[in-house]
C-alpha cells in the first residue's frame, strides 16, 4: 500500500492552497484504497478534487491552475429563489429532507420518473413529521442510482461531503446514518442560515419577489449586523402582465394598494409599476425578471383600450397576449429609465401534468421547455432600446439551439444584450460546454452574464457555482492547450467571470 494514512480524512471542503489540494488528492486516494481493500464495508462518498475537469493532459493541469485561482472567490448570485424570510429569521433547517429534497423539484422529478410517488417525498407540503421525513430520505438514498450522471447527483454529493462531511455513498443501508449525522449538525449554530451564508462566502444574493411584496424581510436583513451578505430583492411582475389570468384584476388591485396609486386606468397601472420598481431599487434590487410563453415584444396601438377591456373582464386571449407583448416593451422602457437590469427567460410549458398540479401545486417538476425565437421577437424592442446607454437585457433559454443562432449574434452586436447562463434543464455539463463554446466563439467572453444558480435549494448554491467554475476552467484550459488563448489571458477571464463580469452586467456596484 502506497499511502500510510492513520487518521480519517475530513469531509471538509478542499483546503485553499496548493498543499491543501495535494492533501485532498491524497485523501481521496487513501479513502478509495481503504474501500477497495475492504477496510470499509460499504461504498464511499468521496468527490474527487479534479471532478469535472478535463480528464487528459495537457488540459487537466492547466484547468487545475485556473480552477485553483477562482475556487475560493466569493459567490455572486444575481438570480435565485431562496426565501428571504428564512434568511431574515435565521430559521434552522430541521432535517436533510427539508433541506435537500422537499424544496428541490430537480431532485423530486427524477425520483418521480423512477416510480417514487411525490407525496412520499413531501412535495408541496410544509414540515413533515419526523418519521415521514426519514422515510422520504430513505427513498432518495435507496434510489441513488436514479440520479447517476446528472447534475443533481453532483450537487448532492458536493453538499453532503463539503457541508456535512458525509463519507458514505447514499444507499438503503447508509440512509439512516446519513440522516442522523445531518440532523445532528443542523441542530447546531454552525448550520443555521446566517452561518452558512458566511461559510459559503456568498457576497451577493438576489431573491425573487412579487411587486406587491412589502419587502419586510429585506428591510430586516439590510439592518441585521449578523448578515454580511448583501441580500436584495428582484422585481418579478409576470402575473401583472398577463391580463387573461383569472386572478389578474385582483392582483392589479393589490398592486395599486401596495403602490398607493389607483390602477383603475392604464396610466395608473404604469405609474404603480414604476413606483414599486423604485421601492425595489430603494431596497437594493438590481434587476427585474420576466418569464412568459414567448419572447415577443411589440408595442400595441391602443394599450389603454386593452387595459380597459381587461379591467372590464372583456379581453380576449389574443388581446391579452398583445397586451403582455406590449408590456414587455414597456418594462424595457422602464429599465432604460430606472436602470434595473432586465432578464428574460421565456418558453416553458408550465405545469404540464394537470393531475400533479392539482395535487402538489406549481414547481413540482413538470415545467417542460418548448422552442423559442428571439431574433424576430425582440426586434421591435431592440430597435427602440438596444443601444440605449445603460440598458442591460440578459437573455436565457432552455432551447439550446438558440444560443448560437440568436442569442450570441444579438449579444455580439447590441451593447445592451448579454447571454445569460444556461440554466434549468440546461445546467448539465455537456449543455454548459456547448453554451460556452457557442456563445464565446461568436460574441466573446465579455458578453456573458456570469453564472446564475436559479436555485430554490439554499445549500446547493456553492455546489452549483463550484460546478460552473470547474467547467469554466476546463473550457478555458482547452482553449489554452489548443493555443487559442495564452494562459495569462485565460486566468484573467476565469477570474473576471466570477468577479467583475457579473458585477458589471448586473450593476452590483451601481
Amino acid at each position: 500500500m502506497m499511502f500510510s494514512i492513520t487518521a480519517p480524512c475530513p469531509g471538509e471542503r478542499p483546503a485553499r492552497n496548493d498543499a491543501g489540494q495535494q492533501m485532498a488528492t491524497l485523501c481521496h486516494a487513501a479513502t478509495t484504497i481503504r474501500t477497495l481493500s475492504g477496510m470499509a464495508t460499504d461504498p464511499v462518498l468521496n468527490p474527487h478534487p479534479d471532478r469535472l475537469l478535463p480528464a487528459a493532459e495537457p488540459a487537466r493541469s492547466v484547468a487545475r491552475r485556473l480552477y485553483r485561482a477562482v475556487r475560493d472567490l466569493p459567490i455572486i448570485s444575481p438570480h435565485g429563489h431562496v426565501d428571504p424570510r428564512v434568511l431574515a429569521e435565521n430559521i434552522p433547517f430541521t432535517d436533510p429532507t427539508a433541506l435537500f429534497l422537499q424544496p428541490d423539484h430537480y431532485v423530486t422529478r427524477l425520483l418521480h420518473a423512477g416510480g417514487v410517488p411525490l407525496d412520499a417525498l413531501g412535495v408541496g407540503r410544509g414540515p413533515l413529521p419526523a418519521a415521514q421525513a426519514r422515510a422520504a430520505w430513505r427513498l432518495l438514498c435507496a434510489n441513488w442510482h436514479l440520479v447517476a450522471g446528472t447534475p443533481v447527483r453532483y450537487w448532492l454529493e458536493s453538499e453532503l461531503a463539503d457541508v456535512f462531511g458525509i463519507t458514505r455513498r447514499p444507499t438503503a443501508a447508509s440512509a439512516d446514518d446519513i440522516y442522523d449525522q445531518i440532523t445532528a449538525q443542523l441542530a447546531g449554530a454552525g448550520h443555521r442560515p446566517h452561518a452558512l451564508l458566511d461559510r459559503f462566502r456568498i457576497a451577493f444574493l438576489a431573491t425573487t419577489d412579487d411587486p406587491a411584496d412589502s419587502l419586510a424581510a429585506h428591510a430586516a436583513l439590510a439592518v441585521d449586523p449578523a448578515v454580511t451578505t448583501r441580500i436584495v430583492p428582484t422585481f418579478r411582475p409576470d402575473r401583472y402582465l398577463e391580463a387573461g389570468r383569472r386572478d389578474w384584476a385582483e392582483a392589479v388591485d393589490q398592486l395599486g394598494v401596495a403602490a398607493g396609486i389607483d390602477t383603475g386606468s392604464y396610466p395608473g397601472f404604469l405609474a404603480a409599476l414604476e413606483q414599486r420598481r423604485q421601492v425595489f431599487r430603494a431596497h437594493g434590487a438590481v434587476s427585474a425578471d420576466h418569464s412568459h410563453a414567448d419572447a415577443i415584444a411589440v408595442p400595441a396601438d391602443d394599450p389603454a383600450g386593452l387595459y380597459r377591456r381587461a379591467r372590464a373582464g372583456q379581453i380576449t386571449p389574443a388581446e391579452a397576449t398583445a397586451f403582455r407583448r406590449h408590456m414587455i416593451c414597456e418594462m424595457a422602457r422602464m429599465s432604460c429609465d430606472d436602470g434595473l437590469v432586465m432578464t428574460l427567460h421565456p418558453a416553458i410549458h408550465r405545469n404540464h401534468h394537470p393531475g400533479t398540479l392539482a395535487a402538489f401545486g406549481p414547481d413540482s417538476g413538470h415545467d417542460i421547455p418548448t422552442t423559442v425565437e428571439f431574433t424576430r421577437a425582440l426586434q421591435p424592442l431592440l430597435a427602440r432600446y438596444g443601444t440605449h446607454p445603460g440598458f442591460h437585457l440578459v437573455l436565457f433559454t432552455t432551447d439550446a439551439t438558440v444560443y448560437s443562432r440568436e442569442i450570441a449574434p444579438l449579444a455580439g452586436f447590441y451593447p445592451s444584450v448579454y447571454a445569460g447562463a444556461p440554466w434549468w434543464f440546461l445546467d448539465n455539463p455537456s449543455a454548459i460546454r456547448s453554451y460556452q463554446q457557442a456563445v464565446t466563439e461568436i460574441a466573446g467572453f465579455s458578453r456573458l452574464s456570469g453564472f446564475i444558480d436559479d436555485t430554490r435549494a439554499f445549500c446547493s448554491i456553492p455546489a452549483r457555482h463550484d460546478m460552473a467554475r470547474r467547467l469554466d476552467a476546463g473550457h478555458l484550459a482547452e482553449l489554452v492547450t489548443a493555443h487559442r488563448l495564452d494562459e495569462d489571458e485565460a486566468l484573467d477571464i476565469a477570474t473576471g467571470l466570477v468577479t467583475t463580469q457579473p458585477t458589471r452586467v448586473f450593476k452590483i456596484d451601481g
Copy 2:
C-alpha cells in the same frame, strides 16, 4: 520487426476473454505491419479492437474494461424490420448484394448521392441474376470512399470481417474476390438465418407487422425447435389511422376481416384494433409502433362522426389529421388497457423524390427528417395517461434538438416516458454521443430505452449493437475519468443498458 507472426490472423470476431483481446490487438498490428512492409499488395480490411473507443488515456483503458464486460452479452432487439418469413423458412442468402446492398437504403442512398443509379444496385427488385448481382457489388467496392466516415462503413466493415472473415479492403480490384468468398460461405449451413441467429447471440428479436397480418411466420417460428431466439411481431397500425389515404377504406375492411369484426362503424373499428392487438400479444408482441407526420395527440369531439365521413369518402384533409391525432390518444388508451409498449417516431417527410418513388418504391433512401415538437403535442395524451401504472411510451426522433429540450425533460418527470435511442440519420457516433449526454444528464440512465437497431439488414444487427456498446463504454468512461461516476457504477450501468433496461422498458419478461 517487433512481432513474429507466422500464421494469418483469422478474420473472426475477437475472442471473448482478455487473452483473446490481446491476441486480437496483436493480430491487428501484425496485419498492418504486413501491409506497410509490402507483404500485402492491396489495402487491408482490419477493424481495430478498440475502434470507436476514446482515443486517449485515461479514458481508453476504462472504456476497454467496460466494453469487455458487455461485448458478448446476448442481443435484445426490440424494434427492427427483418422479414419474419426469411427467418421462418431459413431461406439462404444468395450473395453479398442480396445480403448487404439491395435491402439497405442506408447504403444505396450514399451510392446514389455519389452518382450510382439505383437500378444498377437492384433497389426495389427481387433476386438479381448472378451477373447483375456481381456488377452491383463491384459498384459498392469501387465506390468505397463514398461511405468513409459513416456508420454504414463501420457496419459493413464489421460484417465483412466478423461474419465472413474478409481481410481485404473493398476496392475495384478486390470486389470479385470478396464476392466469391462471401457467396461460397453463404452456400454452407453455417450462414443460413437460423445459424446466424445463434452465432449473433440474438436473444430477442421483434419484427414489424401489419395488424391484418396472419402472423403465420411467427406461429411457425414459435414452435420451431431449431430457433432459440424469441422472435415476436410488433403491431404497426399507421395506415389504418390515416383516414385520408386513398387505400384507407379498403385497409379498414381488411382489418375487419382479419379481426372478424365489422368495421363499418367507429365502435367496430376500435374493437377490431383491440382484437388484433390481443392476437399480437398472444403471438408474443410487446409493443405497438407509430410513425406519422407529427406527434400531436388530441382527443376529437366527435370521432364517430369523423369515422363516418371517412367511410363515406367525405373526410377533408384537416378532418383526417384530427382523426389521426385522436387515434394516437386512443392507441395510448389501448396500451394502458393491454400493456403493449407504445413507441412513437414522428416527423419524417417520406418519399421526398416522386420520381424515385415511382421507379423504385418506398424505402428507397429519400425519407428526409423534419422538425418535430413533443412538449405541446403530447400534453393532452400525457395529461390522461402519463402517470398510468404500467403505461410505457418510448419517444424517438431524428430531430436532435428535441432530446435535450423536450424528450429528456418529459422522461425526467413522467414515469411512463422513455427516451428511445437516436436512430436513422442520427445513428452516427457524434449524434449518439450528443444524445447520451443530453438525455442522461437531464433524466439519468434509467430513462433510456436501450439500443434500437431498426434495421432491414439482418447481418448488420450485431455490428449495430456492437457500435452502441462501444459508444456506451466510451461515454461512461468519460464520466468515470471526469470523476462523475465511480467505475463500479459505470459497470452496472453498461451492463444494465443491454440487459435489464430493455427488458424492463419493453416488458420482455412480462
Copy 3:
C-alpha cells in the same frame, strides 16, 4: 534556459517542410521564453504552429501530419465579397484600419457590442484621415480582450503575424508601433493586391456581382498578365427576384438595359436573366448565389400575372413572396440549362437595428440568423431538378440544427445537393466541428462543398482557409485515432477537400 537562440525569429509564415515546422516550433518556444524571462516588456503575439489542432496525443501527431500535407496547397475560394476593382487596379491599402477594420463587420460588431461607437471605427465611410484611422486602430488594440476566444481573434493574429511579421500582442501600448509597422509595409510593392494574391497562393477567387454589372473589372483582370489568380464573377440576382422592393421596377429596367432585352413582360424578364447569366459565364462565372428570407421554392400558377401586377405596382406582399419562391425554381431550371452552380443561404434577418442601418448602411454587423427549413421548402424544386445530370445545389445555413436534420440527409440522397461550409456566425471552431461530424457521418465526405471563406477582408483569406485546414486535419485525426479511418484514407480526404472537391463541386475545371 534550454534553447540558445541568438537571432530573433522571423514573423513569417511557417516554412514549408518538416525541418521548417520544427524551426517554427523552436521559434515559438524561444519567443515565449524571452517573454517570460523579461527580455520583452510587453505580451508577445506568437501564433503557435499547432494552434487549433487536437491538444492531446495520439490525435495531435496525426493531425500535424495531415495538416502539413495540405498547409501550403493553393487556395480555391469559390465564394466571397472582395471588390474586383481593388484587384483590377491593384490599389494599395493605406493603413491597417482600412485593411482590417473598416470593411470587416465581423470585427466592428464585437467592438460595438463592447461599447465602441461604430463611427469611431469608420464603419460605412470611405478612406479615413490619417489621425482618425490611427485612432480607430488604437480602439481595436485597446479592446483586444473583446475578441478573445473568437475566430476574429484567430484571423487577425494570423494576418498580423504571417502577413506583416508583427510580434507584439495588440494593446493600448503597442497600437501605434503596430500601426506604423503595417503602414510602412503597405507602402511597398510587396503588399499591393497583386503581390498578395501571389503570396497567398490564391489559385481561384470568385467575387459577388450584380447581374447588371458591366464586369469591366473582370474583363481587365482576365487579360492582365500580372495576375495569375483566376478571378471570376458570381451571379447574384436577389434584388431582381424580390418584386415587393421599392426599387424593384427600376432594377428590372436596368437589367433590361444591361441585357438589351425588354423586361416589360415576364418572358422578357426571364430572357434578360438568361442572357446575363450567359455573359457571366463568358467572364468565367461558375455559380449563381441566392439569399432570401426562406428557402421555399414553389412554382406559381400564373407567374406572368404576378410579374404584370408587380410592374404595375399592384403586387401584394404575399404575391411578391410567391413570385420570389417561383423564381427560385426558375433559377434552378436555368442552372440545369446553363450549368451555373446554384448556392442558397437563406434565413438571415438583415439590418436588425434600423438606427444603425440609417447611420452606417447595410453590412454593419446586425444581420441576425433565424430558423430555417429545407426539407419541405425545397421538395418541389428537388422533385423537378434533384436528379438532373450536372445540376449542383450547394446549401448553407446559419441555423446549425439543420445540418444533421435536413442538409446532410438531402445531400446523402440527391446527387445534386452538396453541404456548403458552415459560415458567418458558424465559422467558429466548435460549430465547424459539429458541422464536420454531422454532415460527414450522415452523407460522407464526398458531399461537402469544401471551405467557403465568404469574406470582405482580403487579407483574411489565407487565415480563414488555414483555420479550415487545421480543423479538417483535427477532425480526420480523431477519426483515425478512433480507428474509423486509416491514415492513408484520411490523407486522401484532407487533400481532396482543398483540391479536387471544390474543383468538382464548383465546376472550376469545367
